[in-house]
């Protein structure tokens, strides 16, 4: 296994916080170059120059942190290309600074609350897909597959019980679901919103970069 493929595997753990999909499958990793000495340069590209700076920052910072987890890696540079706030974001990420340092005076706190809001949406959306697949079991242990696995990760990130005995379906606040008809409708809509949004991002990315294939993990 080459170092580059391990770098790509790490990048595959970085999710678009809004779409709840890895940046590698979304095509957001435009290139990934690993030098013989172990220096890594990752170039990220987004569907439009005006994609929200907050999500763009999170992906760039998460990508840098993920690659830096590999012990063999030396310098890590993450470059967000062709973005209207790219210069600010690249400088802050390169320094290891937070989002508020990238845009002094234009934020009212860190991005933790935003990230959690979208983790809750992502959890509900995944549950919506699981509910569409069949009648709901009572415990998390009875659910399997990629959506169930991602639910466990999201629940852990949100501090919601994720062991096998925990309730299979919870609201974004962690409360066990009681009204499955109403919750199912809301969850299905949330899933559709993420899917439609992701589809539009892919379409715009494809139109923007035409033939330039991204790097997949």
């Amino acid at each position: 296994v080459t170092l580059r493929s391990r770098v790509l595997a790490e990048l595959g753990t970085v999710y678009d916080p809004e779409l709840d999909e890895p940046i590698t499958t979304l095509g957001f990793v435009g290139s990934c170059v690993v030098s013989a000495g172990g220096d890594v340069e990752v170039r990220l590209r987004l569907p439009t120059p005006q994609c929200a700076p907050n999500f763009a920052y999170l992906m760039a910072a998460d990508a840098r942190a993920a690659v830096r987890r590999l012990r063999e890696v030396r310098e890590v540079t993450v470059v967000l290309e062709d973005h209207y706030t790219g210069a600010e974001i690249n400088a802050a990420v390169g320094r290891g600074d937070g989002f508020e340092a990238a845009f002094p005076g234009e934020t009212a706190g860190d991005l933790g609350a935003l990230r959690r809001l979208f983790q809750r949406k992502a959890l509900v959306a995944r549950e919506g897909r699981l509910l569409a697949a069949g009648p709901p079991p009572s415990t998390l242990g009875e659910l399997s597959g990629p959506d169930a696995q991602r639910c466990r990760e999201l629940r852990r990130a949100l501090g919601i019980a994720a062991d096998d005995d925990a309730p299979a379906f919870v609201t974004g606040d962690g409360a066990p679901v009681s009204d499955f008809v109403r919750f199912g409708r809301m969850a299905r809509l949330t899933a559709l919103s993420l899917d439609a949004n992701g589809g539009m991002c892919r379409d715009l990315l494809r139109v923007r970069y035409e033939e330039e294939e991204g790097v997949a993990a």
Binding site: E18, P47, T48, P49, Q50, C51, A52, P53, N54, Y84, F99, E100, F103, E106, T107, A108, G109, D110, L111, A113, L114, L117, F118, K121, R185, M186, L189, T190, L192, S193, D195, A196, N197, G199, M200, D203, L204, V207, R208
Partner: protein, 348 residues
């Protein structure tokens, strides 16, 4: 008017533009934003059928003749609403300001409705301008861009205290249709850019105003639906929904329509082409032909019949703007039912 299979559809396009984004109109030092903005719009055109794509040069600046052909002649549109978009930080004369748009009114009498705009950050001067625009053009509606940049500010919210005098002024002057574009880059930058909770507040406080959420809050359609279902004066503007999804993502389009029909209902959905991003012709024709797919994934969505399509394509919008619809294009009133406000579309 569009006719298909013996049915005739009055077409009210609630959202289109006549812009100038040519390099001559870019503000010095802001060229990257002016160019980025129009390139971004142009990318969206890429989601339409290939034969309707334009080269970037034409897309930056198209002629009155193009407009007439694409909208009124080939595009089946009876009446259209101009949404003014200023963006004067990036475009010297504005992207399409009210004066630019007004220049077309005389050329197409009775076919165009001019909407204005306001921005609470302009304070007293902005209020006076709104009064002047109303006095000069008799505007019935405005388009609000909460994400617009203004002197170092990257956006505003409808529930800001500064917006209150403007909303009050709209009530006072009878400017009753408030189109809201929910777009990216709102301040503060660490919050969700597409958040529609500000609309929720003002829709409750201002029951006399109609709030048309352009692009149905995409990509936060779930937040929009949960709100719209509770607020009787919140409408769904279909601009972008048809243009970006019907051709490029037909299965998503069907689901989005299904959710809108369920949560918002066919009486509160308005067609908008968002021309020149997308031409109206393929959107109108495709929407009339469109049917909810017949497989189990879609089984519990409401269906949309011919009368529902007539409402969405024209009658709902005509009602909001008091546009008279010819008798033969209205929905028939069943003889055993008293006429309801819904059947009196455009008659005021």
């Amino acid at each position: 008017m569009y006719e298909k299979d013996g049915e005739r559809y009055f077409v009210f396009d609630s959202h289109l533009h006549f812009w100038d984004a040519s390099p001559e109109n870019w503000v010095k030092g802001q060229e990257q934003y002016a160019e980025g903005w129009i390139n971004c719009f142009h990318a969206y055109m890429g989601l339409a059928p290939a034969e309707t794509h334009w080269p970037i040069e034409k897309f930056q600046k198209y002629s009155v003749e193009d407009f007439e052909k694409d909208v009124f002649k080939a595009g089946h549109v009876d009446v259209a609403v101009f949404q003014s978009t200023y963006l004067k930080e990036w475009y010297t004369k504005g992207f399409n300001d009210i004066e630019q748009n007004a220049a077309l009114l005389d050329r197409f009498p009775g076919r165009l409705i001019l909407n204005g705009r306001w921005d609470p950050r302009e304070g007293e001067a902005g209020l006076r301008q709104l009064e002047a625009d109303h006095a000069k053009y008799g505007i019935q509606g405005v388009k609000l861009y909460t994400a617009e940049w203004y002197k170092g500010s990257r956006g505003w919210r409808l529930d800001d205290a500064a917006a209150v005098p403007f909303l009050d002024k709209c009530v006072e002057l009878g400017i009753k249709n408030i189109h809201v574009h929910k777009g990216p880059t709102i301040w503060p930058l660490d919050k969700d850019a597409f958040d529609v909770s500000d609309v929720d507040h003002v829709a409750t406080d201002y029951q006399d105003l109609n709030f048309i959420i352009e692009h149905v809050g995409l990509p936060r359609i779930e937040d929009f639906c949960f709100m719209a279902t509770q607020e009787p004066n919140v409408y769904a503007g279909l601009a972008v929904v048809i243009g970006a999804l019907m051709h490029a993502r037909p299965r998503f389009f069907a689901k989005v329509m299904g959710e809108l029909l369920f949560w918002v209902g066919e009486d509160k959905i308005l067609f908008g082409s968002d021309y020149a991003i997308w031409e109206p012709k393929w959107q109108v024709e495709g929407f009339v032909d469109w049917e909810m797919p017949d497989d189990s994934e879609y089984s519990d969505y409401p269906r949309l019949d011919v009368s529902g399509k007539k409402k969405i394509l024209g009658l709902n919008g005509a009602k909001l703007y008091g546009v008279e619809v010819p008798d033969e294009l209205r929905l028939p009133v069943p003889a055993d039912e008293p006429a309801s406000p819904e059947s009196a579309v455009g008659v005021r």
